[in-house]
């Protein structure tokens, strides 16, 4: 055997082993989402911590309980990982998606995902379909449309339709100094949702929303916005980081339930038209 005959396969084997080390698959967790304890929560979807967090693959079901329903399945599963530091909890959701849908418009919908937790941890959980009256659920919602704006897309019609020509906006008249109180006040008048503080209307600093619900159709903005997150599209799918405070009554080492939802924009999914999971047990690790 010549040296060359030995070196080449050995190099290939060594390189493959290295690559395997760099892309270490996290351990699987089939029956529940296990939030591992870490002193510091991950700040991105690429954080190395995720290599240690068990991966739960959750099957997604059609939301076919209340009208309007989703009648045709789209995304079939979501991969969930979780990390807690005892005060906050981070989720990493990833799912396959052939298209990036992050542009709003008539007949256009954005990709999105959400994590749902019972607002208080008790022996039994509220209905998985967004809770029930008197037994609220807390929802952290991420939208690809929000993410695109946070990433720097101008919050303007020209960012969506680059060739658009607008003659005039009354609140951008030369007589109004840009950014002045009078100008801002007038601009609000032409965007009623924004002037009412509707969280759908922006301005937007984070791509997530903190929401509460007590049954289908009851979603509302939480009193405080405490969650953060970020989403990234690569290799035919989304990976989204959601970080939020632990819900009331649960701490490190405890157990609760979580549910997840995915909206596929190219499938015109929004609101109740979504793929969702049932409640999935969520166990929280603690400091050793």
């Amino acid at each position: 055997m010549k040296v060359r005959d030995f070196v080449l396969p050995a190099a290939v084997f060594f390189a493959a082993t290295l690559a395997g080390c760099a892309k270490k698959e996290p351990p699987a967790s089939d029956s529940e989402v296990k939030a591992v304890f870490e002193k510091t929560l991950p700040s991105t979807v690429e954080d190395k911590i995720w290599q240690r967090a068990p991966l739960h693959t959750a099957k997604l079901l059609l939301q076919d309980m209340v009208e309007p329903r989703l009648m045709q399945a789209s995304t079939s599963f979501v991969r969930v990982q979780s990390v807690t530091d005892g005060r906050n909890i981070a989720f990493r959701l990833s799912w396959n998606d052939a298209t990036v849908d992050d542009v709003p418009g008539p007949g256009r919908f954005g990709d999105a995902c959400a994590v749902q937790l019972p607002a208080s941890t008790t022996a039994d959980v509220p209905a998985p379909q967004m809770g029930e009256e008197g037994r609220p659920v807390e929802i952290t919602y991420w939208s690809a449309i929000f993410q695109a704006v946070v990433n720097g897309r101008k919050d303007d019609i020209s960012a969506i339709y680059p060739r658009v020509k607008v003659d005039h906006y009354p609140f951008e008249a030369p007589s109004l100094k840009p950014g002045s109180a009078a100008q801002q006040e007038m601009a609000k008048r032409y965007a009623p949702a924004r002037s009412l503080g509707n969280p759908m209307a922006g301005p937007r600093k984070v791509p997530v929303q903190d929401l509460l619900a007590e049954g289908p159709g009851t979603i509302r903005q939480a009193e405080k916005s405490l969650s953060s997150g970020s989403g990234k599209y690569s290799q035919g799918g989304w990976s989204v980081l959601l970080v939020r405070p632990l819900p009331g009554g649960i701490q490190a080492g405890g157990r609760t339930q979580a549910a997840f939802a995915i909206w596929e924009g190219s499938h015109q999914e929004a609101g109740s038209r979504k793929m969702r999971t049932v409640w999935i047990p969520l166990s929280l690790g603690s400091a050793k």
């Binding site: 076919d64 418009g105 008539p106 007949g107 019609i157 005039h168 906006y169 032409y190 965007a191 209307a201």
Partner: protein, 375 residues
């Protein structure tokens, strides 16, 4: 689904919510025969309400040429095709409404336009049916035809937008029946855009919510007619209040036109929404087209309208159109005078049945000039 009564189709029907009529119902009559598609109404609305970002292609009021004009593209024909046969058994609609024809998983039978469908609001403008041969002239028979259809939200008694919203962000005001989208609550799911058969709810990509015609409710609350009514050059519009047929009062202008004279008809009553904008149908348009668009009472309405010159009450009331910015809640004709009153019974307008005619001499002797009569 609840069972509700819709008098426009002469029967009960299924609706998402139980019947709960507002104390008063905003309503309007549009005389299509007087519309010249000048779009002054469109601009009045646009400059008042939709000059914001994300509203660039949004027209709460539009005027389209029928049969080839649409805003958004194909708004009516797309749904008519989906709905299937729409036969009437006399005054009773024998087909399905869009609530009854809803597919599994849906609250309403609908379709959702693409953004490009809003991009050509003047498509088909002035396009007429049948070619006009060179040298053709009018000989008493209209071989070619089109007409202008001015449209706003119908503030329906049974709104499809309201019934389709999964989070009840759309409401109908109990005091005047105006249908509004709560801009603080809407999350932009666009279910209402899909459901409204008239396509009069619009998604605003900049606010992330849907928006619609608000019937200029700040003006209504002051007893005034909306902007698109008072700016109408052709004086084709009249706003007021409508009663249920059994409560109709002849001294209520809208009741008189809709219930007493039956000269003004709802737009696509077969959809089942009990829309509250009523149209005096156009003359000289094929009957089949009008029946599909305005229901089975087209013949009677046109006959009544043709007879208006000999009907002092009808022609008298038509003179009140565009005569005042205020809402005429009650009216009366005394000989050759037509009076309009507000809600409190105060006289707010008085017009003659026929304007006095003045013939001006061609030569003004006092100033030594010849004048030309221009109108």
């Amino acid at each position: 689904m609840a069972r509700v009564y819709n008098w426009q189709i002469g029967r009960e029907m299924s609706y998402w919510y139980p019947e709960r009529r507002s104390k008063k119902q905003f309503a309007a009559v549009f005389d299509t025969n007087k519309c010249i598609a000048c779009q002054t109404c469109t601009l009045a609305c646009k400059t008042t309400w939709t000059s914001g970002k994300g509203q660039e292609y949004m027209l709460w009021n539009n005027v389209e040429t029928k049969p080839y004009g649409f805003y958004p593209l194909g708004w009516d024909v797309n749904l008519l095709e989906k709905l299937g046969a729409q036969n009437w058994d006399g005054q009773r609609y024998a087909g399905q409404t869009i609530f009854e024809a809803a597919q599994a998983g849906e609250r309403v039978l609908g379709w959702r336009p693409d953004d490009i469908d809003y991009a050509n609001p003047n498509v088909g403008e002035d396009d007429c049916v049948n070619a006009v041969d060179r040298g053709a002239y009018f000989s008493g028979v209209h071989n070619s035809w089109f007409f202008y259809l001015a449209r706003i939200c119908n503030h329906c008694t049974y709104p499809a937008c309201l019934s389709s919203c999964p989070r009840a962000s759309i409401y109908k005001r109990p005091e005047d029946g105006i249908v509004l989208i709560d801009q603080g609550r809407c999350r932009g799911y666009q279910e209402c855009v899909k459901a409204c058969p008239y396509k009069k709810t619009f998604y605003n990509a900049m606010t992330g919510t849907s928006e619609k015609c608000i019937a200029c409710y700040p003006k209504i609350e002051l007893g005034m007619q909306p902007q698109c009514f008072v700016n109408c050059i052709g004086k084709i519009r009249f706003a007021g209040w409508i009663s249920k047929p059994e409560n109709a009062r002849a001294d209520n202008p809208i009741d008189f036109l809709v219930h007493v004279k039956k000269v003004a008809l709802p737009l696509f009553p077969q959809f089942g929404l009990e829309p509250n904008v009523y149209y005096i149908p156009p003359l000289n348009v094929p009957r089949e087209f009008l029946v599909q668009m305005f229901g089975p009472n087209v013949d009677g309405a046109l006959e009544t309208y043709r007879n208006a010159p000999r009907d002092k009450d009808l022609s008298g009331l038509l003179t009140l159109f565009g005569s005042t910015e205020l809402i005429v809640a009650k009216w009366k004709r005394v000989e050759e005078q037509i009076m309009g009153y507000d809600d409190s019974g105060r006289e707010i307008i008085r017009v003659p049945l026929r304007e006095p005619t003045h013939v001006r001499q061609a030569f003004d002797a006092a100033r030594g000039v010849a004048r030309t009569n221009i109108s």
